[in-house]
């Protein structure tokens, strides 16, 4: 029993061409089957009973009234978890269903499956949980104190990363210090957490799910369900965005448990408010920095203390804090560094992966510090950055020497030299150009312009020795009289454009016009997650490797055939659905050459190995590849009302090689918009551990009137280590866009602005 999924489409295009998304038209027309649209016969609906307290002891759970409610087929608690009761990406500390205590507001406590979603929700209200309410620990600094209540058996410190680079007692002529705060951002994917679990006849289950990593979901699910992994089969369902929110399990285990218990297919689809408690968020951070420099602007040292609030469970916190620490000084040469990165447990909602992954929080701090330092030195802020910019062969504060292109100075030069937009026209009656927009708050009164710059970087791929690889199966055969390539991986298309990338690589490598990318599932080996800006590199690399193997076999076949006839087999290539000679003449069409033959190869691809940070010094070759982007922001600020209009963003980014330039532009646009969101409006507001704005009414995302035109400079400098020389693209746009906007607001207002998102009352003194 299978639900309707998006059809596998034939894609034609080569590496470097603009290739449209095969799902684009369906999505615009409303015909794309998202995971929340999944449906099969006899399907039940699941609902989740959640904790109304951020911290409480569970005294009892009474499910009898819910079980007796109309249409109810199953009610489950922690006692019904068949296998492991806890899961987690790095540390298995999160209960599938809470037992003993709840550690955050909205934590899942019980499950209901019923014939109709409304019946399930109503029955969920009839699960009676008795709590002994405990005082929540919501301040990460307090969580670090020795006498703080311990939220987990090993204490409240999830990880402390120490980086000790160079002289720890270095002194400098010019010193600036600052403290910065970053609020909790939500990934806010427009598609909520949703999926459909279908039990089989033998006690196994098929899960149709919108996720970022099918295999790690399966590994965790097999443990929770007490099943061997091959009895848990996952198929990718239509996804409405991810941005890190779908790296952890949300409703996956719940739907499977309900399906296995009831013997019926079960769908769970979160509402928007539930989604806000159903996935992890970006870590809020408090960052204290001290920069020392020579009078000529050369950095002497950076000392930083970074505290990230990990919330109730670990998720990927240990990797996020490693990033926040490794990239703490920004893309600058810094001979001496002392970095202490802490991530702690609190009773706030759990935090984990989000686009930028630890490099966003610190960018706000190091870029504010660079501006402060420039001011102290009386130096142009771009000049100061350029003077300290990392270059090829520079050493990171982790001791790693960066190879390949490191165009930090070049990116800065490009955004600096781009002409500035025209000054705002105070007589303009077009309110959409003013801060406040059509809300008619200013006709030019108190509007001041500011320009700000920021540059950031982060790692591409997994770090610290994590086994990073991807698997691809490529099949070449003749279908309907034409050669056709089928590409099959488990890599999640999350909206980033991986389907076209895989097809373009196969089309290029095998010279075939028709390429079909099969829907991702667990019938093929793991591709790793769609995160860390890694899929084009790693899964792209795997597709290329499998294509190389297919090509070798095709050419061997051709050589065998031709050798018999002509003896000339040097320099044969695949192009235009044919085998061609070195000078491009068609020798034989693939259709003729292959006949009924099917050539299939499965290959794994691994980038170079990394190593773990030394626990005392933080020194290691911890990262595979570094990706850089710089932004310039131009803002108009109504300084009396504290309202901001971002007039223009300009960016320069080295993408190594743009496989699908139009998709690259999409990433640069979307990433900048998400950065803008954190800079000026997006924040999950918490009070004593409770989310106060769990809806799109009050969790504000940028609209088209908030996001300005993005002027782009896409550099293709070619990394010698990666397939086609490409670099990961998805995350860098989100790192420096926000800090550039905040720098521009500071320039317009003269106010220090040390916290994001910037609120009107932070700009206006009241």
């Amino acid at each position: 029993m299978k639900p309707r999924l998006a059809p596998a489409a034939t894609v034609t295009g080569r590496v470097g061409e603009n290739v449209p998304r095969p799902d684009g038209v369906l999505k615009v027309q409303g015909g794309f089957p998202y995971s929340s649209d999944l449906q099969v016969d006899r399907m039940l609906w699941g609902a989740t009973v959640r904790s109304p307290h951020p911290y409480a002891r569970i005294l009892s759970i009474d499910t009898s009234e819910a079980l007796a409610a109309p249409g109810v087929r199953a009610v489950l608690t922690h006692e019904d978890v068949p296998g492991k009761r806890v899961y987690g990406l790095e540390i298995p500390d999160q209960p599938v269903l809470a037992f003993d205590v709840v550690r955050y507001w909205g934590e899942a406590v019980a499950l209901v499956a019923a014939d109709h979603p409304e019946l399930a929700r109503r029955a969920a209200q009839k699960v009676h949980v008795q709590y002994q309410v405990l005082a929540p620990l919501t301040d990460p600094e307090q969580a670090l104190l020795a006498d703080a209540p311990r939220l987990h058996p090993d204490g409240n410190v999830t990880r402390h990363v120490k980086i000790r680079h160079g002289n720890q007692d270095a002194r400098a002529e010019v010193v600036v210090t600052g403290e910065y705060e970053v609020g909790m951002q939500d990934q806010a994917p427009l598609g909520p957490e949703s999926g459909l679990a279908v039990p089989d006849e033998e006690g196994g289950v098929d899960l149709f799910i919108a996720t970022q990593w099918l295999h790690v979901d399966r590994e965790q699910l097999a443990g929770v369900l007490g099943l061997p992994p091959d009895r848990v089969r996952l198929t990718m369902a239509g996804i409405g965005g991810a941005f890190g929110a779908r790296e952890d399990l949300s409703m996956q285990a719940h739907a499977c448990m309900l399906a296995l218990r009831s013997g019926r297919p079960v769908k769970i689809s979160y509402s928007r408010p539930e989604s806000f408690v159903g996935h992890v968020h970006r870590h809020p951070g408090r960052l204290r920095y001290e920069h020392g420099a020579n009078r000529d602007g050369k950095l002497v040292y950076v000392r930083a203390r970074i505290v990230l609030d990990g919330g109730a469970y670990a998720s990927s916190s240990t990797a996020v804090i490693a990033n926040a620490s490794c990239f703490a000084v920004g893309p600058y040469r810094c001979p001496n560094a002392t970095i202490d990165g802490w991530v702690v447990y609190t009773n706030n909602p759990p935090c984990g992966a989000m686009r930028g992954f630890g490099s966003v929080q610190n960018c706000y701090a190091h870029e504010a510090q660079m501006d402060k330092l420039a001011e102290a030195l009386g130096m142009d802020p771009v000049e100061l950055r350029t003077r300290n910019a990392l270059e090829t062969g520079s050493q990171m504060i982790t001791g790693q020497v960066i190879d390949g292109p490191v165009p930090v100075a070049e990116l800065l030069r490009r955004i600096k030299e781009r002409p500035l937009p025209a000054a705002s026209d105070p007589g303009s009656l077009d309110l959409t150009t003013q801060p406040g927009g059509v809300s008619n708050t200013t006709h030019g009164e108190s509007v001041r312009r500011g320009v700000g710059y920021a540059v950031g970087f982060k790692n591409v791929g997994y770090s610290e020795g994590f086994n990073d690889y991807s698997t691809a199966r490529v099949k070449l055969s003749v279908v309907g009289g034409r050669p056709r390539v089928e590409v099959h991986t488990a890599a999640a298309e999350v909206g980033q454009g991986l389907v076209t990338v895989q097809a373009q690589i196969a089309g290029t490598e095998l010279g075939v016009t028709d390429v079909v990318v099969l829907n991702a599932d667990t019938r093929v080996g793991s591709s790793g997650s769609s995160s860390a800006s890694r899929q084009t590199y790693i899964t792209g690399g795997a597709v290329k490797a499998a294509c190389d193997a297919v090509r070798r076999r095709v050419l061997a076949l051709a050589e065998l055939e031709l050798g018999r006839k002509t003896g000339k087999t040097d320099g044969l290539r695949l192009e235009r659905d044919s085998v061609v000679s070195a000078d491009g003449r068609e020798i034989v069409s693939l259709t003729t050459l292959l006949g009924d033959e099917v050539i299939e190869e499965t290959h794994e691809f691994r980038p170079r190995q990394t190593t773990r940070l030394d626990p005392e010094t933080g020194q290691a070759n911890a990262h595979v590849q570094y990706a850089f982007a710089a932004h310039r922001a131009v803002v108009d600020v109504d300084t009396e009302l504290g309202l901001v209009k971002v007039v223009e963003l300009a960016t320069a980014q080295d993408v190594g090689k743009a496989i699908n330039p139009q998709a690259v532009e999409g990433q640069l646009e979307g990433g900048a918009a998400q950065g803008l969101g954190l800079a000026v409006m997006e924040e999950i507001q918490l009070k004593d551990g409770v989310i106060r704005n769990a809806s799109f009414t009050d969790y504000l995302l940028p609209t088209i009137l908030d996001m300005p035109p993005l002027r782009m400079d896409v550099l293709e400098l070619g990394d010698p280590h990666s397939p086609y020389g490409l670099k990961g693209v998805g995350e860098p746009p989100t790192i420096s866009s926000g800090p550039a906007i905040v720098a521009a607001i500071r320039a317009a207002t003269g106010r220090p602005i040390t916290r994001v998102p910037v609120r009107p009352h932070d700009i206006v003194e009241t």
Partner: protein, 292 residues
């Protein structure tokens, strides 16, 4: 189970409301459906008013415009923007184009939220809200209509039939502060209407108190300044100090709180700025009118 009622005429709607006073009237659904979807409110019944033709009409009634409760924001902007510029400006700040195509002023009044965008201009224009039930019709001045957050003078057996408002007799302005440049609920808002015929200045404050509020002290202060300086007759610039004082008095009339959208201190501050700016813009228009 939600009881769903769908009257085809106004008399049928009133009969249904009399029989089911607990039923929630729904027009555009831009408030009611959101509340239901978020599980914040689960009405026992719903009266769908979208098939009642009378509610979507507007016309004149003894010198006033009588506008059916089911007239959408888009229609107010397009069909009445010239006669009701203040309300049209407020309507333009409501949600997105899709929401303005569905949402109605009647619905705004029904919810009676202190943040309702239409309320400040209705206050500033001394609008009347027409309430109807099986036992009759009454017209309640907007300034008496709002009682508490999301509570109004409407009785359970009554439906909002229309609102009545004078066509603008002078310049009008509306300003709203939100933390996004579009599609945002007001942090605070302000409406101002100059009545050149009666020589009056009227105000409305939104989202800065338990109800929409009129800043009556500010109104009499600035009217005093205009009267004393004979500025109505010989329109000249109003002294900056007086405009500043007007803003301060508007801010003083507000009763804001700290909430998820902003702080009380910021709201007061912003209202003073909005009041100053709105008066300045309106007065420039008034002087221009005088010159013409």
């Amino acid at each position: 189970m939600i009881h769903f009622l769908q009257p085809a005429s106004w008399s049928e709607a009133l009969a249904m409301k009399a029989a089911h006073p607990e039923a929630m009237p729904i027009a555009g659904g831009t408030d009611v459906m959101v509340e239901i979807n978020l599980d914040l409110h689960r009405p026992a019944g719903i009266i769908d008013l979208t098939r009642v033709p009378e509610l979507t009409e507007w016309g004149t009634d003894d010198g006033l415009l009588r506008i059916g409760a089911g007239v959408t924001y888009s229609r107010i902007i397009n069909e009445l923007g010239d006669r009701l510029p203040g309300l049209a400006m407020a309507s333009r700040t409501v949600g997105s184009p899709q929401i303005r195509n569905r949402g109605t002023v009647g619905g705004n009044l029904g919810t009676a939220s202190p943040a309702g965008d239409a309320h400040p201009p209705l206050l500033a224009s001394d609008a009347l809200v027409e309430l109807a039930s099986n036992s009759g019709t009454r017209r309640v001045p907007a300034r008496e209509f709002f009682i508490a957050p999301k509570r109004s003078a409407r009785r359970d057996d009554e439906l909002i039939a229309a609102f009545l408002i004078e066509p603008a007799a002078g310049p009008q302005q509306f300003s709203k502060v939100g933390t996004r440049n579009a599609m945002v609920i007001a942090v605070c808002s302000f409406a101002l209407a100059i009545d050149a015929t009666r020589k009056r200045v009227a105000t409305g404050i939104g989202s800065a108190g338990p109800t929409p509020i009129r800043a009556t002290d500010a109104e009499s202060f600035i009217e005093g300044v205009l009267d004393e300086g004979r500025l109505w007759e010989r329109p000249a610039e109003v002294p900056t100090s007086a405009v500043t004082r007007f803003g301060e008095l508007v801010a003083a009339a507000a009763r804001p709180i700290d909430d998820v959208r902003g702080t009380a201190a910021y709201r007061r501050h912003a209202l003073a700025v909005l009041a100053r700016r709105c008066f300045t813009w309106a007065w420039v228009d008034y002087r221009r009118m005088g010159a013409a």
